[in-house]
Symmetry: C2
Subunit: 138 residues, 2 copies
């Protein structure tokens, strides 16, 4: 991946290391987006990596801002590479998901920042609602 050297340097500056395990997980998330820990383990266990390492690594990468955590609405969390910021709307009735451009929320986030003084990260938000089709059927 093209961004690996930059990430390696960033981690190094914080006293951490880019290991083969961390790289493998980043690579898995570079192919499939929104993966659960189990799905990620399925794609990297061939390397001999432990499940415990998968969970630890995900927590570590998320804590360092390299991964984003997304609420999938089923009580579980999924992970994805940050930097490709976007948000979701999930239909509570049929489960369909709509990906929405982050720019659509930029004004609201800017206002939040100016009113609270906080500096907000891109993040990954999940809205819940009902899609147009399901609204008609009810």
């Amino acid at each position: 991946m093209s961004c690996t050297p930059r990430l390696t340097q960033m981690l190094r500056a914080r006293g951490y290391r880019m290991t083969s395990q961390r790289f493998a997980i980043l690579q898995a998330l570079h192919n499939g987006r929104h993966l659960s820990p189990a799905q990620i383990y399925q794609r990297v266990h061939q390397t001999g990596m432990t499940e415990a390492t998968v969970y630890r690594t995900l927590e570590f990468l998320a804590g360092n801002g390299i991964l984003l955590v997304a609420d999938r609405g089923n009580g579980h969390l999924a992970y994805e590479l940050s930097g490709e910021s976007h948000h979701h709307i999930i239909c509570r009735t049929c489960g369909k998901q709509l990906e929405i451009d982050p720019g659509m929320l930029t004004p609201a986030i800017r206002q939040l920042e100016s009113e609270t003084g906080y500096c907000l990260y891109a993040g990954h938000l999940t809205f819940f609602g009902q899609c147009p089709e399901c609204q008609q059927n009810s």
Copy 2:
């Protein structure tokens, strides 16, 4: 709680029942907000309720829109009564939390609805960022 009859009727209309276990969990969440499953179990296990029932009930109540799920930023989820819609900003540096009025996001949500055709629920969003104090110390 004043809203119990209304909830009972709403569940009944969907073929479900208001049980003593569900009522106990609602009552626990009426006192303490943003509780984890473990915290909730701690407050209701005196009634003889099983942990499995706590998890099941939380999922059920959330699925019926009576509870909201909030990402606490530590990889875990917390539950709270819906109807008291609000949102949070969590500082990634010091962990401090700021509660923000839902009205601040209303314009953005309205725009999202008109652009996507979805009907959005109030929900409970969690933003991550850095608070003013931590911005100065870095």
